[in-house]
Structures are given as C-alpha cells and as structure tokens.
C-alpha cells in the first residue's frame, strides 16, 4: 500500500510530470488542433471581431438618440462595455465550452474523463480552448483603450491597479458563472440553454450602467450573479463617481474577493452536480 500512497500524491512526485504538466499538454494539443485548420481559424477570429462590433453598435445607436444613459456619457458607457466584454471574452476563451456538459454526458465522454486520474472539471475545461474568441477580446481591449482616452480619470496608483486587475477578476467571476450554471446540465438534458441565459445574459447586462435597470434586476445581478462587479462597480471607482442607487463605494473595489466567493460557490454546485450524476447514472 506504500505504493498506493505514493500514487495518491502523484501530483507532487518528482520522478514524473506533474498534474499541471498534464493539463498543459492537454491545452497545447487543443491549440495545435485548431491552428492546423488555418483558414477556418482566421475566419472564426474575424467573425468574433464582427460580433463585438455589432454589440458595440447597439450602444452607439442608443447614443444617437440620447445624450446620456442612466447618467453616463457615451465614453463612460464605452468604458463599462470594454471592461465587461474583455472579461467575458477571456472567460469564454478559457471555460466557455463547459456549457456543453449535456453533450459530454450524452456521448459518454464524461465517463471517459472519470476513468482518468484527473479532475472531471479540469478535463472538461481543458478539452477545448477556443482561440477564436481572442478576436472578441482584442476588440474589447480596443474599445477600452479608446474609451480610457476619452473619459476624464484622475489617475492614482490604486486606480491603475484597479484598471489592470478588473478584467482578470471579471473573467474569474464570469468563469464561475459558466461553471455553476453549466453544472445544471447534470440535471437537465437541455442544460446548455439554461446556462446561456445566465452567461450570455450576464454579459449583456454587465456591459450597461446598472442605473438603467430596475431594483430587482440590479440586486440579482449584484448579489446573486455578481456581474455588477465585472465592469459597472469598478468603473464607478475609476471615474470617481458614487452609485446613484446608494451602493457603498467600497463595493467598487471588491471584485477580487467576490471572484473568490463566486468560485467557491461554483465548485460546490459542480461537486453536487457530479455527485448527482454518479449517484443516478445516465
């Protein structure tokens, strides 16, 4: 049994590759597989830029009719839009395909994952790596840079740190939303639709100032599905403004801890779902 004990802590063994190396190999193989279809890859990237452009056009069209939206100018809303879509694009790039869980259940691929010495969620996440979504991220960053030049920000070291950390924290929050809502696929055959309502829906909401929504929507998407922390709340701190609806200012600096809590909840939901799956069979 000494041998068994050694294998249990296999990730820390020094005589072979580590768990991290295993995931690294999986991701590299996915990237290589995509890059081998070069034309399709370029078309996909272009399509993703176009999707970003259409989404942004929607914001632009609104501002041809009004001069401000919920108390925010075009440049300020563009800043929120840039932060939100950059975070969503990054999350979508890394974990976006977990919403296909019902497909993995139906085809037996999830069972194949369970027969390997790695976590099922880790394998699901690394089973795809949608590089084409880089197109969306690049467009978001472009909008963000232009918006930053157009708005008036009183730069301090804290605000610079906030700006740099916000897309990362936002991506982690969106990833948690992806994982938690996708785990519903353990119970529902059409779980993908359910998950998309929250992931893509959350992306849409988070790219607007929350002052335009009613209080139920605002509270739900701040405290239940915390996408307000992805762009709107940090943007308030960057612009040096207070929330008109009376949210405390420190919330604007809380995306990091919120991301951590969101992931803990997401992992709990995932574990419960996986236990339901091994408990019922499919």
């Amino acid at each position: 049994m000494a041998d068994t004990a050694d294998r249990v802590v296999g990730g820390l063994r020094t005589d072979g590759p580590t768990v991290l190396a295993a995931y690294g190999a999986l991701v590299r193989s996915r990237v290589a597989a995509q890059a081998s279809y070069r034309t399709s890859f370029v078309v996909d990237i272009a399509a993703q830029v176009l999707i970003g452009l259409v989404e942004f056009a929607e914001v632009y069209v609104v501002f041809t009719q009004v001069s401000d939206l919920g108390g925010f100018s075009f440049a300020e809303v563009s800043l929120i839009f840039g932060l939100a879509t950059a975070a969503f694009g990054l999350a979508d790039l890394v974990v976006g395909h977990v919403d296909r869980l019902p497909f993995y259940v139906r085809t037996g691929q999830l069972d194949a994952f369970l027969l390997r010495p790695l976590s099922a969620l880790g394998q699901l996440v690394t089973s795809d790596f949608s590089l084409r979504r880089l197109g969306r991220v690049a467009f978001s960053l472009l909008v963000l840079v232009i918006a930053l030049a157009a708005v008036d920000i009183n730069w301090t070291p804290a605000r610079v740190a906030l700006l740099l950390s916000t897309p990362i924290a936002g991506a982690i929050i969106f990833s948690a939303v992806f994982v938690a809502t996708s785990a519903v696929g353990f119970w529902l055959v059409d779980g993908t639709e359910f998950a998309n309502a929250f992931t893509y829906g959350g992306n849409y909401l988070s790219s607007f100032p929350f002052t335009v929504f009613g209080s139920i929507v605002r509270r739900t998407f701040t405290f239940v599905i915390p996408v307000a922390f992805v762009a709107y709340l940090p943007a308030l701190a960057l612009l040096g403004r207070d929330d008109r609806m009376g949210m405390p200012a420190w919330l604007s600096w809380s995306a990091g801890p919120v991301a951590l809590v969101a992931w803990l909840v997401a992992l709990l939901v995932w574990r419960t779902g996986l236990r339901h799956y091994t408990g019922t069979g499919s």
């Binding site: 294998r7 072979g16 590759p17 999986l26 037996g108 069972d111 194949a112 010495p117 069979g281």
Partner: protein, 318 residues
C-alpha cells in the same frame, strides 16, 4: 484480493408515462445483491444477457457510479471516494467511452495519456513501443483516430488502457464487431500481457472463444445476480451445453438416429444434411464423425459450439 464485491446492489428509478399527466415511478434493481472477489493474476469472464447488469457492475467497480448498497473495493481502494488514485492502477476499455482524441493522430493520443497518468518518458516509451510492436500499430500511428478502422481503433483503446501498466484491466466487449483475424490478434496480445506481467483481467463478452482462450473462471450474471461462478468446463457440465455436428452426405440417406451418444436434432433436404447434437462429456466429435462415416458417405461437416446466450439460458432451465 484485487476486487472485492459484497452484496452489491444498484437501483435505478424508471419514470414512465401513465395516462395524460400521470407518471409512474418504478424502482428497478440492475444489480441485485452481487458478491464475488478476484485474486491478483486471475482472468475472469463476466457474462450474461443484455441488461443483466454487467455494465452497471463495471461502472461501480471503476467509480463512475455509486452503489445503492453493498461494498466495493478495487486494488484496496473505494472506487468513488478514491477515483483518481484508482484510475492510476486500473485500465478500462469501456464501450462507447473512448480514451482517444478523435482529431489527433494515435501517437499524440498516447502521448497525452502518458502525461495524464504522469508517466516519466523513461517508463512510457518502452511500454508504448512494446504495444505498438505486438499489436502491429506502426502503419497507422500517425493517422487521426477518426480515420481508423474499428479493429485499429480497438487496438489503440487497449494500448491506451495498458500504457500505465495497470494491475487490473477491465474490458467491456473488447472483440465485438471485429473480424476473426483482429479478434485473434487481440486475444493473443492479452494472453501474452497476462503471462508477462501477471495483469488481472475482467472482461465481459458475448463471444465464447474469448472465454475459452482467455478466462479460467466465469461469472454468469442474470437479472442482477450471480447465477454461476466457476470454470468453463464446469459450466458446460452443469448446463449440459450441446455441441452440434452438421453433416452433409453425398446422397440422401436414412435418418441417423442410432449414432451412440448423439441426438438427431434436424434432417434437411431429405436426409442430405443432418444435425446431430452431442454432449462433450459423453462422446467426442471424432467418435461421432467415425460412427457417422461408418454408416453413410460424408461430403462435408461442421461443428457448432454452444453460444453464451444458450449457456446462460440453460442455467435457469436446469
């Protein structure tokens, strides 16, 4: 004991539509109190009709499915609670659950599996070379898995399950759909794997030659219970499975009702073709052939073996 199963039970809830809105909820036991154990180095054939509970048992042995009640230990581990630790000690080839990447060449799939099992290159490469040579996979190592034939893919799946030199190999219908040559190559490879490494094997099959060639022990499950646990000859003796000699005569002859140790089952084409059933423990094929050719002139003959469905069915008739 490498596998220890005691009073294992697994229920499923089946919901059925009854009327326009009403739905009934039935509890069905797929595995209904199974007890057995397997010693290191054994090769056990796990057989039974479709729906007898074979796959459900394998899922519980490998940690994919939680038992409703009873205990399972595999390699001294709890399959569900210690799933990843167990995965490093067992190899599984399981139905539609492919371990290969359909869009990658076979060689890359093996490379990834070696990384997943955290095998140092010094251990993975010689093992892979050995499997590639024995299963003759060199010609298609660089072909994407989706383009492989079933036989080629199955050789890849078996290699994928053995790359980390597991103590226990679980095979679910490994020869189904393969042609005779592929079946024989795979059986030969598994025989050698057991001889060289003492790997314990548990396999489900519908193919009697798989059992004859590989397994010294058979577990027959039926309706979720172990109906028989013993050797193939003991099983055949118990159920009295019959072999059938089919003879074609040169010209129509009389019905062969008086051949010692046989029963005439069927006469076709006015006696041109006759089917004689006999039991292995009462006479031999050679003796029957000799007795028949003493009476009539033979043109052709064939011996059909009892098939597994037939054997299983007879357990309940006996």
């Amino acid at each position: 004991m490498i596998v220890e199963v005691a009073d294992l039970r697994r229920e499923f809830v089946v919901r059925r539509r009854a009327g326009r809105l009403r739905r009934t909820r039935d509890v069905v036991a797929a595995v209904d109190g199974v007890t057995f154990s397997i010693s290191p180095g054994e090769c056990v054939g796990y057989i039974g009709a479709n729906g007898a509970g074979k796959s459900t048992t394998i899922k519980m042995l490998t940690g994919i499915l939680v038992p409703t009640s009873g205990t399972v230990r595999v390699c001294g581990l709890d399959p569900v609670l210690q799933r990843t630790a167990l995965a490093r000690q067992i190899g599984v080839v399981f139905g539609q659950r492919s371990q290969l990447w359909w869009d990658l060449p076979l060689r890359d799939s093996f490379r990834l599996l070696a990384a997943i099992h955290r095998l140092p290159a010094s251990a993975a490469q010689p093992r892979l070379d050995e499997c590639v040579a024995l299963l003759e996979m060199e010609p298609f190592l660089d072909v994407p898995v989706r383009q492989l034939s079933l036989g080629q893919r199955m050789r890849g799946e078996v290699t994928a399950a053995l790359l980390h030199s597991p103590e226990l190999l679980v095979l679910d219908e490994p020869t189904i759909g393969l042609d005779l040559l592929s079946k024989e190559r795979l059986r030969g490879f598994l025989v050698r794997e057991r001889r060289e490494r003492g790997t314990t094997v548990l396999l489900t099959t519908h193919d009697l030659p798989d059992i004859e060639r590989l397994c010294e022990r058979i577990l027959v499950v039926d309706h979720g219970r172990v109906a028989f646990d013993g050797t193939l000859p003991a099983l055949v003796a118990r159920v009295g499975a019959e072999r059938v000699l089919v003879v074609d005569l040169v010209e129509p002859g009389p019905a062969l009702t008086d051949v010692p140790g046989t029963t005439l089952r069927l006469v076709e084409a006015d006696g041109l073709r006759q089917h004689l059933a006999f039991r292995q423990e009462e006479t031999t094929a050679a003796a029957v052939v000799a007795a028949v050719s003493a009476r009539v002139e033979l043109r052709d003959l064939a011996v059909t073996e009892p098939d597994i469905e037939d054997v299983v069915r007879r357990i309940y008739e006996s």
